[in-house]
Symmetry: C2
Subunit: 390 residues, 2 copies
């Protein structure tokens, strides 16, 4: 396997409902990534696209093919990946291999979604299909419900009184909005307070509105290239040094383990082992904060804090820039926004920019190793990537 460089990255402004289609958004992000890579569309040899909902949102089942056509490269192979919120990450991991194996020299991984167009109630109902339709979706469970239950379990399992835990969880969202306010591409560029979280409507006990990420319209893209090609095209290379992916069954099948998510422990171990690093070597992570509780669960399964200790760590500022691990400096899913199929690639966008030192007032100074973490469904698909400066 040869070294793979994340060359140029691109991303649309993330937003609520807007007028562009999933194909148009993807094309815009792809052209940004292509231009930043100092290449032309015709240099792209294959496209790997994450997309979960455009058939439901727009009646568009093959956005990947029509985006290739819009870029003027209709003849290349283009795949669409569906792994719920991890769709874009699965696409990126696959794109990595096509270059690492030597089959292609330059490929594009991307993701696109117009989930906000559906409106939150319909999107929530539709997206619940990424749970187990035989037992979970069929019983009326949606993802706010999944994470509401996990929050209750977290409180019980680790003996943290709910009132205390709720304040710690609110801090997760406060942190995300603090950074989102410093990211010009974020959907919500506004700081919030813990009191704002407590004043929100109850969504799924104990999660209130500001514990929950939004549905978002947006797209992101990254060009992966062989080291040889990249040498001629960039003087700020960022390399993919670790990849990992794992699946899981429904929540009931994971019950002995919860609120830990075993798939994340498997996937991240693969990525750490391949990169030859440990959690303490990671300087910055973009992780899957679909709900405030999800951040705690991720931080622990990824090995940054002991089980049951992440909530306290957040409260003490250990997850902010300058703390033990800089978490979601982009604003994360909560403030940057969550265009489902694009999220994993948008995480790569942020990590690449962080490792290049291009993030302005939300920069993690001197970051050498960065990581992405995406969770699809209730653990169904988890993907981790580790990137390195140089």
């Amino acid at each position: 396997m040869r070294k793979v460089v994340a060359l140029g990255v691109g991303m649309t402004k993330f937003s609520g409902k807007q007028d562009k289609t999933a194909v148009e958004l993807l094309t815009e992000a792809a052209m940004d990534a292509i231009n930043e890579s100092n290449i032309k569309p015709k240099d792209i040899q294959a496209m790997f696209i994450g997309n979960a909902l455009s058939d439901f949102c727009e009646g568009q089942g093959q956005p990947h093919a029509f985006a290739a056509d819009a870029l003027g490269i209709a003849g290349i192979p283009a795949n669409r990946y569906e792994g719920a919120c991890a769709s874009g990450s699965a696409a990126a991991r696959d794109a990595y291999l096509w270059v690492a194996s030597g089959y292609y020299d330059i490929v594009l991984a991307g993701g696109t979604e117009t989930a906000a167009k559906m409106g939150t109630p319909l999107a929530t109902r539709t997206f619940a299909m990424f749970s187990d339709s035989r037992y979970e979706y069929a019983s009326g469970l949606t993802f706010p419900g999944v994470f509401g239950m996990l929050t209750n379990l977290y409180s019980t399992r680790y003996g943290i009184p709910m009132e205390k835990l709720k304040r710690q969880l609110a801090q997760v969202s406060v942190n995300s909005h603090y950074y989102g306010a410093r990211n010009p591409k974020a959907q919500f560029q506004k700081e919030i307070s813990i009191e704002d979280v407590f004043n929100g409507i109850m969504v799924a006990y104990p999660l209130q509105l500001l514990d929950c990420c939004p549905f978002t319209d947006g797209a992101a893209a990254v060009v992966f290239a062989s080291e040889e090609k990249a040498k001629k095209l960039t003087n700020k290379p960022v390399s993919v040094v670790g990849i990992g992916q794992s699946s899981a069954g429904n929540l009931a099948s994971q019950k002995e383990y919860l609120p830990r998510l075993r798939a994340r422990e498997i996937a991240s171990k693969q990525a750490y082992d391949m990169a030859g690093v440990k959690p303490q070597d990671i300087d910055v992570i973009e992780l899957h904060d679909c709900f405030s509780t999800a951040t705690l669960i991720a931080l622990e399964s990824l090995g940054f804090f002991e089980f049951g200790k992440a909530a306290e760590a957040v409260e003490k500022g250990k997850t902010k820039i300058g703390g033990k691990i800089a978490v979601n400096p982009s604003g994360g899913l909560k403030a940057k926004g969550h265009p489902i199929g694009a999220t994993g690639v948008a995480q790569v966008y942020e990590i690449a920019r962080q490792l290049r030192g291009e993030c302005g007032e939300r920069q993690v100074e001197g970051a050498k190793y960065g990581m992405t973490d995406t969770l699809g469904g209730d653990g169904g698909t988890i993907v981790n990537l580790i990137l390195k400066k140089g």
Copy 2:
């Protein structure tokens, strides 16, 4: 890149509406393939699944993850590919690379669908989303309409009077049903006559009911392994020696080229070049006969007959076993059935069995090279694989 062997293959009975879910069907086909490979589920290192409609049919967005769990291997990476009718083929091509690259030794490619459950009218409307939703789906076009138009264009472009062409097209379906009647896994195991085709209802002029393949419930799977692993597990190896994939925009974007499909010419050339063979070296092909016209278009773009000459070739028996090229001895999409996401993998199933000489009265004697061909949407995704005995 190292040699990849298609080890064991599995397939459910293809049928109309039945009671199993997409996950259950996939698990059944996967266990067949695993058992035939002389391995255990735990030997599978990753799963690559084609599926286009299970979210619409069953509210099941992640059948890949839940199938991995049902097989007792929840922790492995599992991806879902959506490329319309070519979903399973895209999954198989990808699975091939993960083994060829040396990353994994044993992986499973599969496809599953419960499209018949929706009923033909709703499935036709839903599946139309795999055309371009901005211009095609939005104007009311469905795939019978796409192929009805292509048939009219074929008649005009090549100067074949419609009455003559209709009889030649009917022969395509007659051939498929002849072989379907000899395939115990086929949805329609009944021979038909040209008169039967002419007596069917008109679907989209000039295509009548028996010019059109059905929607089908079913699943298929294949285990790919490195040559080293395969040596210990089978004495009837079949190797993947060529892969190709290409995309295209909507029909209007292809208008200079139609009724030729440029994506198929690109994809098949890749596969031929990689395998170091020409069309005349292929002994048996499973090709994408979603409508009778589609067979003609495929035969020509794949290089088996000159443009405008496939209809006459079919009439003269050149596409039957013993003719120039044995086409769809499984019964094809028309008679074996078309469970969208499973179709490409079911093609691999048939070709592997043909190359092993296990197809009884529909056996292509002495077949050395076999090919698969799947068309997703109106050209959006085309994938070709070439397999070789040994």
